[in-house]
């Protein structure tokens, strides 16, 4: 709180220098970990993105559902189509207040190109209990190339606030 003496540019002593060096090395290590995982790791944040519009995306999703629908299941009393696309194909989920549409049925160990986009507000794609969380924006077609490594019923929760029914926005992915 008081003004320092005139010449405060003094060499650091041993403890400060040691800590500064160790901290800097740690920071460099933290930096390197990200590209290392990017090239070696199996879990990376998707980057593939295309421009779209809600109207255009809705048409694509409807065509996709019509092509691969195998049944129907209801969530919170609302019927949703269950869609079983072939492995390796492009699969689509449409986010809108307050639905994830449709229900996907995937195969364990197979790769899919999962498209995510919103019809209205920001939504949060939160796959539970796998715990993968991505942001879904209107106008952006976000492509996540995923491979389910476990089977069962998984829930998609919306974790970005999207007005008052936000907490009711629940979807489903089935992995056989």
């Amino acid at each position: 709180m008081l003004a320092p003496e005139q010449n405060w540019w003094k060499p650091m002593d041993r403890l400060e220098k040691t800590w500064l060096t160790v901290a800097l090395v740690w920071c460099i290590f933290l930096t390197i970990m990200m590209p290392l995982w990017y090239f070696q790791g199996k879990q990376n944040v998707p980057t593939e993105t295309y421009r779209t519009t809600p109207q255009q995306y809705a048409v694509t999703v409807n065509e996709f559902v019509a092509k691969y629908q195998i049944g129907e299941e209801s969530i919170n009393g609302i019927p949703f189509p269950v869609v079983a696309p072939p492995a390796g194909s492009d699969v689509y989920i449409r986010a809108s207040a307050w639905q994830w549409y449709p229900i996907l049925q995937l195969e364990k160990g197979k790769e899919y190109r999962l498209h995510l986009s919103s019809m209205d507000y920001n939504h949060g794609f939160s796959l539970q209990p796998v715990n993968i969380n991505l942001q879904v924006l209107p106008g952006y077609d976000y492509v996540a190339t995923i491979t389910p490594t476990s089977s069962g019923d998984f829930t998609i929760v919306c974790n970005e606030y999207c007005y008052l029914g936000h907490h009711t926005m629940v979807g489903k992915i089935i992995v056989k």
């Binding site: 709180m1 008081l2 003004a3 320092p4 005139q6 405060w8 540019w9 003094k10 650091m12 002593d13 400060e16 800590w19 500064l20 160790v22 901290a23 740690w26 920071c27 460099i28 933290l30 930096t31 990200m34 990017y38 790791g41 199996k42 879990q43 990376n44 944040v45 998707p46 980057t47 993105t49 790769e111 995510l116 507000y121 920001n122 949060g124 939160s126 539970q128 209990p129 715990n131 993968i132 969380n133 991505l134 942001q135 879904v136 924006l137 106008g139 952006y140 077609d141 996540a144 995923i146 491979t147 929760v157 974790n159 970005e160 606030y161 999207c162 007005y163 008052l164 907490h167 629940v170």
Partner: protein, 575 residues
């Protein structure tokens, strides 16, 4: 060059409008004093409103009580964000800037009218935001108001008014410094604490400008002037405001750490160069942090995310790690110089634990660093963020930083502002002694409850997670920990507000006669000037204990960091 006009009251012949603080022997300009008081009062008032909202939303998220209905939950959540993260913080920081640019420099407030204009705009903006969020259902958009959620134009206008007011107040900080330098109010370099506040002021300037880049288009869009605005760009600009705003809090908090350490144990910075360098690192790198909020967003490349999220090369983190050593080290040296030299931690055992400024300081440093800092770096790791984005781990992290860290430090300092600036005797001293422990303990539980809930997939900003029907049973336990922590913290908050208002509103105005509140009659600030280089360099006074503590911190950091990579490695393959 012509001399400046003798408008300054201390110049011979001018009207006396300052007093000399008998405790710190510094001149206090009366304009500055009134400005500090006004801003501090608004800060505590908004803290009170935000605190009431905090209790109600916490009792809603604690599933056992589930108090509010969904509409009120989201409404008060919006209010809580605005009052705490914006109003309380910024009002207090503006009080700090007025203090740092006048009292600490022995200088006058060179632009009081401008500063009052800023204060009035901030007050109007803040109150308007409160009113429109409470009474207009359109404005339940959370404090981030992500487009295309559309609030009423008045909502955005209140943000703009507040930000313009804050910008004006920050401008007076720079005016004061320039004038003080010209009038030779201080010799040589600025004190470290003022230097830290200047870092905060520079960060605040471009933070507020970036905020304008998000909120002004949103305002125009809500009025129908422009038809659309890219939601991704909005997020980028909003966090260009929202994230650096937290770094303003950080720089202000660290300045206050140095102040509290000097007030309570009489530190002299171990190495001015070291500490100042750490502030400069903030200045250069911390603005990249907006990316922390966009790591799960479409449209951005890995390289963009990785470079920005790491502050170039974790250089701002390096700044924090430097302060994390330099402040405890300075405390250790000062206490050792007083004779507490036994073992590694004898100085800690003999520290003034009953002095609220000291306990608030230690609680703030420990929870900020060990919980807030570590979780922050981990969440900000590009890939790990996928496990965390918008889950409850996120508020768990920032409640450890802005609340346990910044708010506790601000509260600690407030206890000293009451005798020194408000010139009122501190009442309910016993409450003040316990308050930092109750508040800090509560906040620690709250953060741990949130983090462990988030680890199980519980999302933030969600009225009822049981709706999803996926949450394992242990969530009830972790949410109960969160709820109990929230109640304790609210009790701590009530204690703080009560002590402040009882002290300020009762009793006569009286000059302070001592600095310490409960631990004796010493004056550590003046004692610190007697710490000679010889004493600082004495082998027996070396900060070995602090050195051990930072290495323990690093070990914990590494353990938490690698655990998260391990968790990531277990999830589905994704790219």
């Amino acid at each position: 060059m012509a001399t400046l006009a003798p408008t300054f009251p201390w110049v011979k012949g001018a009207k006396d409008d300052y007093r000399t603080c008998p405790v710190l022997t510094l001149k206090v300009d009366m304009h500055a004093e009134r400005l500090i008081i006004a801003n501090a009062v608004m800060a505590v008032l908004t803290l009170t409103i935000g605190g009431i909202a905090a209790l109600l939303i916490a009792l809603t998220r604690w599933q056992t009580f589930h108090l509010l209905d969904a509409t009120w939950f989201y409404r008060l959540l919006t209010l809580h964000g605005i009052d705490m993260l914006i109003a309380w913080m910024v009002f207090f920081e503006i009080a700090g800037l007025h203090f740092g640019s006048t009292v600490l420099l022995n200088a006058r407030h060179a632009a009081p009218k401008l500063a009052w204009l800023g204060f009035i705009l901030m007050t109007i903006g803040g109150l308007t935001a409160n009113v429109v969020v409470l009474f207009d259902p359109r404005n339940t958009v959370a404090y981030t108001a992500y487009m295309p959620l559309k609030a009423s134009p008045v909502f955005y206008l209140s943000y703009i008014l507040f930000a313009v007011g804050a910008l004006i107040a920050v401008a007076t900080f720079f005016i004061n410094i320039v004038v003080a330098k010209r009038e030779k109010r201080f010799e040589g370099s600025m004190p470290l604490v003022a230097f830290g506040f200047m870092t905060a002021a520079i960060l605040a300037t471009y933070t507020l400008l970036q905020g304008a880049a998000a909120i002004v288009p949103a305002f125009l869009w809500s009025m129908g002037v422009i038809s659309s605005f890219d939601p991704g760009i909005y997020r980028n600009f909003f966090w260009g405001f929202g994230h650096p705003a937290q770094q303003v809090n950080l720089a202000a908090m660290i300045s206050i750490w140095y102040s509290l350490a000097q007030i309570t144990v009489g530190i002299r910075p171990v190495n001015e160069k070291f500490s100042r360098l750490a502030f400069v690192l903030y200045l250069f790198f911390i603005n990249l942090g907006a990316a922390h909020h966009l790591l799960g967003d479409p449209g951005l490349s890995f390289a963009w995310k990785a470079v920005n999220t790491s502050y170039a090369m974790y250089l701002a983190v390096l700044g924090s790690m430097m302060h994390a050593f330099s402040i405890p080290a300075a405390m250790e040296v000062a206490l050792r110089a007083k004779g507490y030299r036994k073992g590694l931690f004898g100085w800690l055992r003999n520290a003034p634990w009953k002095e609220p400024g000291f306990s608030a300081l230690v609680i703030s440093i420990v929870i900020f660093g060990w919980v807030g800092g570590v979780t922050g770096v981990v969440i900000g790791t590009e890939q790990i963020n996928m496990l965390v984005h918008n889950t409850m781990r996120l508020p768990g992290h920032f409640h450890a930083t802005v609340v346990s860290g910044t708010t506790t430090a601000f509260m600690g300092l407030t206890y000293y502002l009451i005798p020194l600036i408000f010139r009122k005797e501190l009442k309910l001293k016993k409450w003040a002694v316990w308050q930092p422990y109750v508040f800090g303990g509560g906040m620690l539980l709250l953060s741990l409850g949130m983090i462990t809930s988030g680890l199980q997939g519980v999302s933030r900003r969600n009225w009822d997670i049981t709706f999803a029907g996926v949450v394992p049973g242990t969530v009830e336990l972790t949410l109960a920990i969160f709820g109990i922590g929230a109640i304790l913290a609210v009790i701590g908050g009530i204690m703080f507000v009560t002590v402040v208002f009882v002290s300020v509103l009762t009793g006569p105005r009286t000059e302070a006669n001592k600095l310490l509140l409960v631990s004796g009659d010493g004056n550590p600030v003046l004692e610190s000037t007697k710490l000679t280089d010889h004493m600082m360099e004495d082998k027996q006074n070396q900060p070995r204990g602090a050195f051990v503590l930072v290495f323990a911190f690093l070990v914990w950091f590494a353990v938490y960091y690698f655990t998260n990579w391990w968790l990531l490695g277990r999830t589905w393959f994704i790219r």
